[in-house]
């Protein structure tokens, strides 16, 4: 964030280079499997092909530019990275073959690790709850996942979803029986070992 008032009258709205995180671009490029991030020509194809760009605070093109320049806080706090639905349109269309979806994943992971994402923003909370559920049972259980998700984000939202949940139940599409791997600890053991390596 820009450090604020320059004087009583003048507000500085632009960052000095010294305020940027100069290693951020490299870090994200590495996490997203490619230095290609730096060959972006800012053509905007990603923004045009993205079905969710209407709702983003920064388009994918701007995200790439900001990551490269080191606008770490702005990028990690924005909604764009979470709105990305992983449809891979940008990745397939990018003329410089930048794996933009992977860049978004790298940013989500970084925001998650640092614990900085928009507070009570439902998307990272769903990701986290999904992760926990799978760690516990080895499989994802949609019913319990949605209950935990609503409790943590918007308990009133649960009420609004009762009609749809009821119909899912009636049609046998929602079960309270927990699906799990034979040994529930398999996945936990597996993930722990991978993490240590």
């Amino acid at each position: 964030m820009v450090s604020g008032q320059a004087s009583r009258w003048v507000h500085r709205s632009m960052k000095y280079q010294s305020e940027l995180d100069s290693g951020f671009g490299e870090k994200i490029a590495k996490a997203a499997y490619g230095e290609k991030l730096f060959s972006c020509i800012q053509c905007g194809t990603c923004a045009a092909t993205c079905p969710v760009s209407h709702y983003m605070d920064y388009t994918p093109r701007r995200i790439i530019a900001m990551v490269r320049e080191g606008f770490r806080d702005e990028v990690l706090n924005c909604q764009t990275i979470w709105l990305c639905a992983s449809c891979y349109s940008c990745t397939v269309d990018c003329p410089k073959e930048i794996k933009i979806t992977d860049v978004m994943y790298a940013l989500k992971q970084e925001a998650m690790t640092q614990g900085i994402y928009p507070k009570r923003f439902p998307i990272p909370i769903l990701a986290r709850e999904f992760f926990r559920g799978v760690e516990q049972a080895g499989r994802s259980n949609e019913g319990p996942l949605m209950v935990r998700f609503f409790l943590k984000t918007n308990p009133l939202g649960m009420i609004r979803n009762i009609p749809i949940a009821w119909r899912l139940w009636r049609t046998g599409r929602l079960s309270l029986r927990q699906e799990h791997t034979r040994d529930k600890n398999t996945v936990r053991t597996l993930l722990r070992a991978a993490k240590k390596a």
């Binding site: 996490a31 499997y33 079905p51 969710v52 709702y55 709105l83 639905a85 992983s86 449809c87 891979y88 349109s89 990745t91 397939v92 979806t101 994943y105 790298a106 989500k108 992971q109 998650m112 439902p122 998307i123 990272p124 769903l126 990701a127 986290r128 999904f130 992760f131 799978v134 080895g138 499989r139 994802s140 259980n141 949609e142 019913g143 949605m146 998700f149 009609p163 749809i164 119909r167 899912l168 049609t171 046998g172 599409r173 929602l174 079960s175 699906e179 791997t181 034979r182 398999t186 996945v187 053991t189 597996l190 993930l191 722990r192 070992a193 991978a194 993490k195 240590k196 390596a197």
Partner: protein, 302 residues
């Protein structure tokens, strides 16, 4: 021909009708699908947002389990069939990245060793569409058709992750495999440009205002092109497009009512299989073919 089958979590709950109809159709085609024993969640899109190495390791366990079963058809690599788009993408991606990135492969494999497995790229991840068109063939499908779906206009919805970015069996923007199966059933495949546009995925649960709108755009376009039914091959797409139609009407206005089936349900109907075997009773928006058969097609009662 025999295949190892990876159902994934959704096909055991919201997408049950997909599993039921898929198994029924493949049985009718005399192509057995053997469920992978003790499979685990592929991690979908959420896992990758939290921890990448763990996400790849999670998916790789399934590849390792399939590898352990040994060679598949003709002792080549084992074919692992993943009907859910997210599973198909994640398993394909894992396999590709483990080959391309040695560091990642080392980390993942040391995780796998802890549970007595390895992952050495000896599995082929396949999508049912790929198998239907390239292994089984449209002729064999057409031969099984008992009730041609003449006059029925079908919008084939592929969604994103089946064709992007790892599929090799079809085009990422203008895929045709599903349309060709639909035509083999005697129905008419409607031309529509949104067939690979994103339905919103999990956004419908997290930020409904966005997810509902993305799905509604697809349904409106299908309707504008006079489709009688949308068919899809992804449990999340099917849920988004079908189960949320009331909510779309309530929140965004312009109510819509269009049946959304799994491709395999439509195939099963054409093959004359019993409805219950295809999970037709699980639909929110019932499908009636009578209305569809207006253009000289034989009225078929469902």
């Amino acid at each position: 021909m025999s295949y190892c089958y990876f159902p994934g979590c959704s096909l055991k709950s919201t997408g049950r009708a997909y599993e039921e109809s898929l198994l029924a159709v493949f049985r009718a085609l005399e192509v057995p699908l053997q469920e992978l024993d003790d499979w685990n969640c592929c991690g979908a899109t959420s896992y990758m947002s939290v921890d990448e190495v763990q996400a790849f390791t999670l998916a790789a366990r399934n590849l390792g389990l399939a590898e352990k079963l040994g060679g598949g058809n003709g002792h080549g690599p084992m074919d692992l069939v993943a009907p859910c788009s997210a599973c198909y993408l994640v398993l394909s991606k894992t396999q590709r990245y483990l080959v391309e990135h040695a560091d990642l492969a080392r980390q993942v494999n040391s995780g796998l060793q802890a549970v007595g497995l390895t992952c050495e790229n000896r599995v082929r991840v396949r999508h049912p569409l790929d198998i239907l068109v390239n292994d089984i063939g449209l002729e064999r499908i057409a031969k099984l058709v008992k009730e041609r779906l003449k006059g029925l206009k079908v919008a084939s919805y592929y969604g994103c992750q089946v064709v992007r970015p790892f599929a090799t069996f079809d085009s990422p923007w203008a895929p045709t495999t599903m349309d060709r199966v639909v035509e083999a059933l005697g129905a008419k495949a409607v031309k529509w440009p949104l067939k690979t546009r994103c339905c919103g995925g999990t956004l419908i649960g997290t930020v409904p205002e966005v997810g509902l709108r993305l799905s509604q755009i697809l349904l409106q376009e299908a309707q504008r092109r006079e489709a009688d039914v949308v068919v899809t091959v992804c449990p999340l797409c099917q849920y988004n497009l079908e189960c949320n139609q009331d909510e779309m009407g309530r929140r965004l206005g312009e109510p819509i009512r269009l049946p959304v089936l799994y491709l395999t349900q439509l195939m099963g109907l054409a093959f004359g299989l019993p409805e219950r075997d295809l999970g037709m009773q699980r639909l929110f928006v019932p499908f009636r073919r009578t209305a569809a058969a207006q253009e000289g097609g034989r009225a078929v009662h469902v």
